[in-house]
């Protein structure tokens, strides 16, 4: 046994990326998933988006409705993909994989964040899909390199946030059946109580309060700011980042605390 001293923080970062790397390696044989995941944003933009744009029912200021919801649909598809990520650890628990990792000296937070990051990187495909559809529909996108970089970063962080949330739920409910139930119950409220497909201005007061507590709202705001040409942020991009990063940090810490429950 070799014992070299490794600084806890370096160790944590290193192990996080080891977990991410191997989660991503598993993707090589998993291309059907990419295609099926493209379907949902396509339906929302092509059908829901176009119909509502025609109806003129939504007042989205000087931004056309389709432009308004394109970032919302990206955020939504990130949420929908990430929120079911936790099913994987339940599967790994039913095998003995989780147990073996927990019996290794890997920091628990690295196991959790590593998986979250890999979900983040997997979800980048959704950005490609939503950008392609937006181009097709004539959404006025911003091609500023810094803005594009921000979009990719926000997508990764948002998916990390929601997949870690999902993992926390998995650690609590532990079985596939209950997990699917909870997942279904959570996605729609998170989606509708946000600014994804309508501005918060038109919400009743109580819902507006809820939407301001919903991290998805800040994801949508950040994406809208960076994706669209000539759009202004409601909360300020830095504030959006602070909310997203702080929520993720809290969830990773909670996840690290709960993860060992999967071994019992």
């Amino acid at each position: 046994m070799t014992t070299t001293f490794i600084h806890p923080l370096t160790g944590f970062i290193e192990k996080t990326f080891v977990i991410t790397e191997f989660e991503l390696r598993k993707l090589r044989h998993d291309f059907t998933e990419l295609i099926t995941r493209a379907l949902q944003p396509a339906l929302w933009l092509l059908i829901f988006g176009q119909v509502f744009a025609r109806s003129g029912a939504m007042h989205t200021g000087n931004i056309p409705y389709l432009d308004f919801i394109a970032p919302g649909i990206l955020a939504q598809s990130v949420l929908f993909v990430a929120i079911f990520y936790g099913i994987n650890v339940i599967w790994e628990r039913d095998l003995g994989i989780v147990q073996k990792f927990l019996a290794s000296p890997t920091p628990r937070a690295a196991l959790v964040l590593g998986k979250g990051f890999s979900a983040g990187i997997r979800t980048l495909s959704q950005a490609v899909i939503v950008y392609s559809l937006s181009l097709l529909l004539g959404v006025k996108l911003s091609w500023n390199p810094l803005a594009l970089f921000n979009v990719l970063l926000i997508v990764i962080l948002a998916a990390t946030l929601f997949s870690t949330f999902s993992l926390v739920i998995a650690c609590i409910v532990k079985t596939r059946e209950r997990f699917m139930g909870v997942g279904q119950v959570l996605t729609m409220p998170l989606f509708f109580a946000s600014n994804a497909i309508y501005p918060t201005d038109i919400m009743p007061a109580w819902l507006k309060v809820v939407s301001h507590l919903n991290p998805l709202t800040y994801v949508v705001d950040a994406l809208r700011t960076c994706m669209l040409a000539g759009s202004a942020s409601t909360f300020g991009l830095s504030f959006d980042y602070v909310v997203i990063l702080a929520t993720t940090t809290v969830l990773v810490l909670v996840g690290a605390r709960l993860y060992p429950r999967l071994a019992t």
């Binding site: 192990k15 191997f22 890997t106």
Partner: protein, 266 residues
């Protein structure tokens, strides 16, 4: 006197009002092959989970390679390898990748990783299939890969929970041949649970029999057989100490997990 590598003192675990492990005390010497026997629900898996730091004990203590399972969990984790009963390698990675991730997680020096992995594959007779997806492996190959993965960092103690469940006799023999070789080459202490008495008889230096969470018998197979009087077999010993436990078995989840494992490996 031999070095003690595992010292269990009054180890107890309760789940609500049910006591799964009840005041277990025993010690295991370095390099020993130690078998923990008992019927379903006797507390074997709970014991292994506590010793591998997966489950905190309700009371009591154990020192693994000198580290306390309650206060120095990370030290314990560095010193041990663990092969759970269920399948613990990833079917969507190759055998090589399954080993590489553990080489990295256990901080094996970067330069030594390829050689160590090659050696582990060779040792477990998996060199030819190292580049194949584990999803295509046979049950015996999966088990051998799991052992390779759990011993890549040369642990002092290797814990195995029912290492041969669901394997055919030939695969079982192969797994044992490699385990025995490993002890001979690296001096690894093997601590394992099993249902198969003949495995205990042919491979263990000493065995312990647990019954309803308590340690009922401890010694070499010969000693235990002799303790019942002349002409007794290990089977008689087992029935004598654990025989009354017919209906105390596992819960549904444990049984279904065990059968699934058997199915996947078989």
């Amino acid at each position: 006197m031999a070095e003690v590598v595992l010292e269990i003192k009054n180890l107890t675990r309760r789940f609500g009002t049910f006591t799964a492990v009840d005041g277990l005390t025993l010690s295991v010497n370095a390099g020993e092959v130690f078998g923990l026997l008992g019927s379903n629900g006797a507390g074997k898996t709970t014991t292994i989970k506590m010793l591998t730091t997966l489950l905190p004990p309700t009371s009591g203590e154990a020192l693994v390679a000198g580290f306390s399972i309650t206060k120095q969990a990370v030290g314990v984790r560095r010193a041990i390898g663990y092969v759970p009963q269920a399948v613990s390698v990833d079917g969507s990675l190759t055998g090589y990748e399954n080993l590489l991730i553990f080489a990295k997680l256990y901080d094996l020096p970067h330069r030594e990783q390829p050689a160590r992995i090659a050696e582990a594959l060779e040792f477990m007779n998996l060199t030819a299939v190292g580049g194949r997806m584990v999803g295509e492996y046979s049950g015996g190959m999966v088990r051998r890969l799991e052992i390779a993965q759990a011993t890549l960092h040369r642990p002092k103690v290797l814990f195995l929970d029912e290492p041969t469940v669901g394997l055919d006799p030939i695969a079982r023999d192969a797994v044992w041949k490699h385990l025995v070789d490993m002890r001979a080459t690296y001096g690894t202490t093997l601590f394992f649970t099993t249902h198969y008495l003949e495995e205990a008889e042919s491979h263990c230096d000493r065995i312990a029999i647990m019954h309803q969470g308590k340690l009922d018998a401890l010694g070499t197979c010969k000693e235990l057989e002799a303790s019942l009087g002349p002409g007794h077999t290990l089977n008689d010993v087992f029935v004598h100490y654990a025989g009354s436990a017919l209906d105390s078995g596992n819960n549904f989840r444990a049984v279904s997990a065990e059968r699934t494992t058997a199915q996947r490996l078989g």
